[in-house]
Symmetry: C2
Subunit: 257 residues, 2 copies
């Protein structure tokens, strides 16, 4: 999976004056309502910003956990590997999102994180962050909210993977990406996939062949135009309606009250 060894390819971007105050992600990443003074404190907790090339690991399962990582640019793939070496992708992460929350409990990373594109990150030493949580209530609340949100999202994912067929999974995948890109200020209908069909299949619990076939069908049906990594959503509403099985069988599983 890794194209090159994950030698710490850390480039100091401090000369660009990257601080939380002028970061265009502050709306996504920072606690809302934080005041100037506290913002300065938080910015001081950013140890460094760094850049990783495609295929480079930010961290691996088993690595000592020192810092939470906020994504500034690029797409990052998070995955675990089981005893047999089988990989399970847990998600694809975008700017403004936080990596490493699952490592807090054990002080060791439980996942692997790989940059899929040239990507930049901010690093927040966890000890420092915890310390700040004492004095900055908004930060504490935001931290809890970040983790809480992560849990909710994973719950939804569980439903998608467990209860949806291939078509519904892919439709959900495309719509979810669309919504996330929109939130980041990018086009909701035209985007470039950073991940391979292999990765999409692994994430959704499908084979690469099934992914390819379903995307082809979406093309033929005029839902999207996909050409390799490029996606254009033509009929958003119809694609959206494909996300949830409207099949009657749904009723069966819960002979409701």
């Amino acid at each position: 999976m890794s194209k090159s060894p994950d030698s710490a390819n850390i480039i100091d971007l401090s000369r660009f004056r990257v601080t939380c105050s002028n970061c265009n992600l502050s709306e996504l990443c920072l606690p809302r309502g934080i005041n100037k003074k506290n913002l300065g404190k938080l910015a001081s907790a950013v140890r460094q910003t760094s850049v990783y090339e495609p295929g480079e690991f930010l961290f691996r399962a088993g690595d000592e956990f020192k810092s939470l990582t906020a994504i500034r640019t690029g797409t990052t793939k998070l995955f675990i590997v089981d005893e047999n070496g089988e990989e399970q992708i847990l998600g694809f992460y975008f700017p403004g999102e936080i990596l490493g929350l699952d490592a807090i409990e054990t002080d060791r990373h439980t996942c692997n994180a790989v940059a899929l594109e040239t990507s930049s990150y901010c690093s927040f030493p966890y000890g420092h962050l915890d310390e700040l949580c004492k004095s900055i209530p908004e930060l504490r609340i935001q931290m809890f909210k970040f983790m809480s949100r992560e849990l909710s999202l994973e719950n939804k994912l569980l439903l998608t993977l467990n209860k949806r067929n291939a078509e519904e999974k892919l439709a959900t995948f495309l719509i979810t990406l669309s919504e996330r890109f929109k939130r980041l200020g990018y086009s909701a209908t035209d985007y470039k996939l950073a991940m391979s069909r292999q990765d999409i299949g692994n994430y959704l619990g499908l084979t690469i062949e099934t992914v390819s076939r379903v995307l082809s069908r979406f093309n033929k049906d005029g839902l999207i135009i996909s050409e390799r990594k490029l996606i254009r959503i033509i009929d958003y509403d119809r694609l959206k309606s494909l996300c949830n099985s409207q099949c009657e069988t749904a009723k069966k599983n819960h002979p409701s009250n």
Copy 2:
């Protein structure tokens, strides 16, 4: 699913002198290394303990989130319901575990929680808890750890659901229950399932028929003796070895470095 309306069936157990200091779950639920004084503070945050009968809801998706809930006794089922009314069980929770962490972000519950047996709970008003996190570092750390643990566990679940076949899923389910019961001081080999085959199937993404068939096969192969809700694990090691596919195909999915 609910046998009776979830009228707040709250019984005040305070006369039993249930406090954190004498709670037999403190090892599981409380921050380690917390001192006497802080323990008292924390105990004061317990608003009430309450008892629910099988089928009663602790909370429903959409309910206002006020408190985190610690389980004292009994098994609790957590699930979400999608637009079509289809149910997805997210997990079964046992004494010492915390419910409601996913609701922090939105101030509303995103899941439904139902008691599967007569069960008792402690309720921690979230505002109060957050306040205590300011002054009790151990509590803050424990809170982060609880959430972090929840994320790791869900990651593992994702792998099981996405990459395992029916047999492996059931083996994993039985072994995981065994480990959790052991941790609680109960038998690791003899236990009673609190949930129906329907629930097991829903959780694992299998039909009730498949669950039944695989359990029958496990019986025939001398791995377990299951009689309705009772499970006795006969050959723990072999059951354990069934959890991970040792199939060579594992290699295929990641043409590793």
